[in-house]
Symmetry: C2
Subunit: 875 residues, 2 copies
């Protein structure tokens, strides 16, 4: 039996989204509910995948079926496609499973040609309407199907209006429009090299082909990647008989929401235009009227529409976004779908629907996109101000929010300008740990290099500071204190604005609105917390971040990076002394100086966290990161350290690595210099003992050894930790417990997880590094070639943003399984950047992890994502 590639609206329903697309499924649903829907049919998404499988050809059998179904529509409508006397015109629209801007949208009035247009004029007695429809059709077909420049046709209309001395399209007469049609067809031929197709059948197949083709255009591909929509879903095509909002002053067209999509307020919200077709409402040439005006203008129609809107919302149990057309006072519904909404609206609608008894709390939890929450937690640009802003360029949306400030080019300048009360944006080629203090006082951070998990991006997300990274086109000149982007030269002190949620960089200071969280937020998050099975921790390196995480609902700290503590001016000298030491004794002496700093940092964190988990990761980066690279700094610092410039240079040279990512770092540092682990253990345990004593709380510090790939290296360092900790605890007369675990971030750790688990109290998956090693590419370098991979659909999303379940995921699952088998009491978590990504959180839930840990500002997102995962797949 051959596949059924076409469905009449009467044959489908709303559950057939995968096959019919969202639009097709809902048109069918409305048809079956008896709503006034112009009839038509849907060409399925399978026909689209078939089109690509067949080498971008529409199979003859599908073409035949399309005409067969046109026949069925002819029967239903009593009109005939291509017939002069009683012509059937149709619209052709794309419609995939998920609503997807970027694809071809709509062709209206298809089926017109020089003869049919005359018939339509005669039949309706309205030649102006007929030619208006015809010129719209040619214009859309040229633009959307043939991809000719839209502006050329708009210019022809503008010239015509100027010639006639009118300002509105509606002021053009039938004759004007007929002349326009002639000019359009001439332009079409000039652009295309052939005549405009007069055969309606050719028009139809070309339009269907254009919809299929548009599934693969760059805009659609980008959108899909950003929204994780698989390429192989394909799009459906809806062919629907036309109704005409442009047939006179008792006709019109509009769009409306059942609730306010910006605020969630329960009130019909929308606009319409009289004597117009679909695209006029959004085109902005004429100003539409608010939907409430319709009540005066056509009370009957308005009443019917309000009833239908209510019926649809009740039916779908969600806010609906509807398109409608009025033809000669008769209302037709062209589309309904769950409406896109702001985060605030999403929260309010979800909570209100629960209060209205329409949905359950769990359903409410499912109704809010986790990543939407970002916009509630960070400042945003004022929408009006943004429209006027000049876009200079675009980078990666590395850390969400909006920021405006004066440009500075160094961390030192950032600090001093900030001290002088200025709002600043820190601009760097890339950031390094030495820039931390400057980053902390910046409104936003802008870098020329580095990806989503570069230093700048990771630190900025941790701080909740807006960051745009990897603006490859930006040329930064530190000497001249300026950068060039989008043809503009921006100097120190000039204002710029960053949108960390889109990656956009604007010139000047764009006004921002503050973050705000409503009571709806707390109610929904409470429901989410009730539903979820994963715990959510925060990554926090200091008491401030720990507090921030707690405020956002984190239940512990899953990653406290100790190295950031060493970069502060008061500490880095001792750190450097440690690094340049050639003997163990000198190293220990320098470490002794660092000990009180570390201890007091940990005390601050334990005080905030009390009895909740705090996982402290021991020193991770290669030591050369703490040494200067610039000639001047080397001079200064060698003097500080009391060594010759050459001696310091020799140390720097000896620490040089070809591939620092795979170099002397993580546990390897403590294998070489166990005294580092001993000092850090001392700091952790002394801090825990002190805070426990002071607060009377039962503190159980968790020490995490990074980068382990072999149980023996873990055991080697653990022995130093245990020996040191046990002695301190015993000397303090305490019975404090502590745990020693490891970060799983090396493939070999996953492969040998059973052995490691037998020694470790916990695993925390460091999926940033694990992704790098599993793919064999460095996150700092991959940006250069990953674009080719996206373009060619080799990868559909950034594996550093969304955990790669096919590769990295297998290693994670293997490690969980082996780990639990060897140590039933082991607890498992993730502390990589993926811990705050909704799809990755869902994977972590399914893989059976105990917790996810992410930057404080992502904690609410993770809580919601964890709840949705648990509702979808309870475990």
């Amino acid at each position: 039996m051959s596949t059924k590639y076409l469905y009449l609206f009467t044959e489908g329903d709303k559950d057939m989204r995968n096959l019919l697309g969202g639009k097709g499924a809902n048109l069918a649903e409305m048809t079956n509910a008896g709503l006034p829907v112009p009839q038509g049919f849907t060409v399925t998404t399978e026909a689209c995948t078939r089109y690509y499988d067949d080498g971008r050809k529409i199979a003859p059998e599908i073409q035949e079926a399309i005409f067969e179904y046109m026949g069925k529509i002819e029967e239903i409508t009593g009109k005939k496609f291509g017939d002069k006397a009683n012509p059937l015109l149709v619209s052709v629209r794309s419609g995939s499973r998920a609503s997807m801007p970027g694809m071809m949208d709509t062709i209206l009035n298809l089926g017109l040609n020089d003869e049919v247009v005359e018939g339509l004029a005669a039949k309706t007695g309205n030649p102006r309407f007929a030619y208006d429809s015809y010129r719209r059709f040619i214009q859309m077909f040229s633009d959307v199907v043939m991809e000719q420049p839209k502006t050329e046709y708009e210019k022809i209309i503008d010239e015509m209006k100027e010639k006639r001395g009118v300002t509105e399209d509606t002021a053009l007469t039938a004759e004007d429009l007929k002349e326009l049609v002639g000019e359009f067809k001439a332009r079409y031929k000039q652009n295309q090299g052939v005549d405009f197709p007069s055969d309606p059948k050719v028009q139809l197949i070309e339009a269907v082909r254009a919809v299929f083709r548009s599934w693969d255009n760059p805009r659609a591909n980008t959108y899909r990647r950003m929204n994780e929509i698989p390429y192989d879903w394909g799009t459906a095509v809806n062919v629907q008989s036309m109704v005409f909002g442009n047939s006179g002053d008792t006709s019109g067209t509009g769009v409306a929401f059942t609730r306010n999509p910006a605020t969630g307020e329960k009130a019909l919200f929308g606009e319409y235009l009289i004597n117009a077709q679909g695209e006029d409402v959004v085109a902005g040439i004429r100003t539409p009227s608010p939907i409430s005006h319709l009540e005066q203008q056509m009370p009957e129609v308005y009443k019917e529409f309000v009833e239908i809107a209510k019926k649809l919302e009740d039916h779908y149990r969600d806010m609906q976004d509807m398109e409608f057309t009025i033809e000669d006072k008769k209302l037709y519904m062209l589309q309904t779908r769950s409406g896109k909404r702001t985060a605030a609206a999403a929260l309010k609608v979800a909570v209100d629907l629960v209060d209205e008894g329409m949905i359950t709390e769990k359903e409410a939890v499912m109704r809010v996109e986790p990543k939407q929450l970002d916009s509630l937690l960070h400042p945003q640009f004022d929408a009006t101000a943004l429209k006027a802003a000049k876009l200079l360029g675009k980078g990666l949306a590395a850390s969400p929010g909006a920021a405006a400030g004066q440009v500075v080019f160094s961390a030192e300048e950032a600090a001093s300008w900030h001290a002088a009360g200025k709002k600043i944006i820190l601009v760097r080629l890339e950031t390094s740990p030495e820039d931390i203090e400057g980053m902390a006082v910046a409104q936003g951070i802008l870098t020329a290099r580095g990806g989503m998990t570069s230093h700048a991006a990771v630190v900025a997300r941790g701080m909740g500071t807006c960051c745009v990274s990897g603006v490859g086109e930006m040329v930064v000149d530190y000497d001249k204190k300026q950068f060039t982007l989008g043809g503009e030269v921006v100097k120190e002190g000039d204002f710029i604005s960053l949108d960390g949620s889109t990656g956009n960089v604007y010139g000047g200071a764009v006004a921002t609105t503050e973050a705000s969280i409503s009571g709806d937020f707390d109610r929904l998050m409470k429901w989410a917390d009730d539903a979820r099975q994963l715990q959510v921790y925060a990554n926090a390196d200091n008491p401030k971040d720990a507090k921030q995480g707690s405020d956002f609902g984190s239940e512990g700290i899953g990653l406290c990076r100790t190295e950031h503590m060493f970069f502060e001016a008061s500490r880095i000298k001792a750190m450097r002394e440690m690094i340049v030491a050639t003997e163990k004794e000198a190293r220990e002496k320098a470490l002794e100086k660092l000990l009180p700093f570390q201890q007091s940092d940990f005390e601050g964190i334990f005080e905030v966290m009390g009895e909740r988990d705090v996982v402290i990761r021991f020193l991770d980066p290669p030591l050369h990161e703490f040494l200067p690279t610039e000639e001047n700094d080397i001079k200064e610092i060698s003097a500080e350290l009391g060594m010759t410039v050459q001696a310091l240079k020799d140390v720097i040279a000896s620490l040089h690595e070809f591939n620092p990512m795979m170099g002397h770092r993580g546990v390897r540092l403590s294998v070489s210099y166990p005294e580092i682990a001993v000092m850090q253990t001392t700091a952790v345990i002394k801090a825990a003992l002190a805070v426990a004593k002071k607060t009377g709380k039962k503190i159980t510090p968790q020490i995490m050894i990074p980068l382990v790939g072999e149980v023996k290296e873990f055991r080697f360092v653990k022995n130093f930790v245990v020996e040191t900790a046990d002695k301190l605890i015993k000397d303090a007369g305490s019975d404090m417990k502590y745990e020693v675990g490891t970060m799983i971030e090396i493939p070999r750790a996953c492969l040998t997880a059973d052995e490691i688990a037998a020694e470790a109290d916990f695993f925390s998956f460091g999926t940033n590094d694990l992704t790098q090693m599993t793919f064999g590419f460095s996150r700092d370098d991959a940006g250069k070639f990953l674009d080719y991979y996206y373009e060619n659909k080799i990868y559909e999303s950034d594996p550093f943003a969304h955990l790669d379940q096919k590769g990295v995921g297998i290693l994670v699952e293997m490690a969980c399984k082996k780990g639990r088998a060897a140590n039933a009491k082991i607890h498992l978590g993730i502390c990589g950047e993926h811990g705050g990504d909704p799809t990755s959180v869902e994977f972590c839930h399914s893989a059976g992890l105990d917790y996810v840990s992410c930057s404080p500002f992502r904690v609410p997102i993770a809580r919601l994502a964890a709840a949705q995962a648990a509702i979808k797949n309870p475990r």
Copy 2:
């Protein structure tokens, strides 16, 4: 039931090596065979592991058992330990499963003290003998057990001899020796702070402890790592009642082999000393006599010894290495074991034993250490010349063989000095592909940096050129054209010598002997080929290497690296034009220039290889490797390329990578620039068509895409390959077949091997990179910290030298399993450095691979290793 930690010699046999060590097992075996063995017992290897498990303590129960067994020996010998009247003295010797120099060897005469020595003197009527034994004991105990400086005691003897005006130890009288004992004991106390232990029980336990402890000394650890002996095996201790070769002129001691260990000739070979104890024979103070002299000196003893030697060889069916002592004309056997032998001797003995009907051909194959073959295939130093050579320093034994020549510091100098007829050693900080031509003409290569798989090491092994890499202490000064090592300054033109089999660097020109292969080699390799199930291919980048591989018996080429072809002076310009091109067209134009070069290279290789497999890997290294780094070169090359210096610098900067190992290389290059794959495909296919036409042979080229981690990226590039190849073949009117496969060197490729196998004709495991990614360390950087890992027994061998079966091996096995399940016809091989390492070859056999590929000079090793694997574990 408690573990049995001790065995009398009468309780063991030769199959109990694991428990009793080699020495203990063979002493037991000889005892049971009725040979004259002084009786004793063995403390098991399990007691040694127990010692370490107990925190380096000998458990009381084991100490008690030792004395219990001493009691049994007292019964057997009728003597008493510590008894003045009839003292039992013992020797204490280590003995692990594998013969292991580096551990504590022997303590003789244990049980003596001031009283017992008098008793012994009285009983034997030979006070000279008694005091000679006593001074030997104190000397050995101080040195071996207490680790006091040996030379101090030797100096005391020398002073005594000088005082007495004698030259030989034997000329010292009993009184002299007694005085010596006094001086020794004084020195002991001075060094140790306590008196020499007079209690024989204390002496014994200390000696046993010293044997256990010596298992973990640095020399032993180094030896174990080099020979892949696991740390957890432990050593046994043999306690044996003494017989005395130093009791007069009818006594003596000696060592002998049943055949000549240097040549394999079938004739008793060895030497002995009259009136001496064990260590005298090897100490070199007195010159021993050849074993044949014994026939005159003590015909009866000699006859008995010859009979025993024959009996032992027949029994063990291998050449034996024996120790014996004659006490008052009575022969005692102290040890027998399979004798160490040179490669030539190993071959001759194995082949002779087959001819003598003693062993089967398969057994003969098992008798030769594969890695020993190296010394047959490369020049070696003349042993006498080597003794006189001055050792300057030591690096890694990167490519075997011996070389002497004049030092030059650049590839250009190498070429011009070579052209002038000089033998040169190329000395570099590290080598890069640009040095290839210089490396090709060098006798040997010496580098300061880089490990066993550095560029220098890999290329040198491929060429069969001697190389010592990673001489960390060497300071190279290119400007002054000199290097400093071991305190010596070596200038351009000075002679040095390299031993690539040990890593030693010598000053001056040490004489070498040429490589030589005997008929025995061919016979044994034939038997090996009959036995093995793995095929053995060679890695070869040019016709010369292909020929070399064939001569050594390779059955195909498993890895032909195409990038090396681009570094030749005539080609690199076009390569650079390709790299600096910003447009596809310019890139294609440059590639077109490279095409004829590539094609002719491939033609040369196909002509050598005929119908055998040739796997050609497409461009792999990051492009920046082809660009200059030095200011002068940049100037010159920018002019050559017709661009400004700044423009070239910009290209170089844009290609800079933080972690080039994980950067834009391998398949990623062809994803970005498919025209590279198209050019390379064209070259391969045209070459194959041309050679097929010319020779009439059926050539089936195999194209290998490197660094694949995802099936879609493989498919993307494969599509270009197939399109290009099919068209060329069709246009030529040919029906030539070709294959497209991939290198599996990224963990993700293993994890998704089923998907990739569905598209690939073959997998070739690139275990160098796979090891790097799986361990998360870069081979270029790991040298800096791996020493700490070896020291602390975290890793026992270099994972780049021996495939890590626990981690990397799991990925390989997973990929094999998934690959075969998805594609039953897929063929599987390995082309990393591990392909020439015997233990790795054994793993490849067990994992079910079809072939291993290695550098030409390793082919015989791989053939033999593959045979041994198949004999051990037929599949």
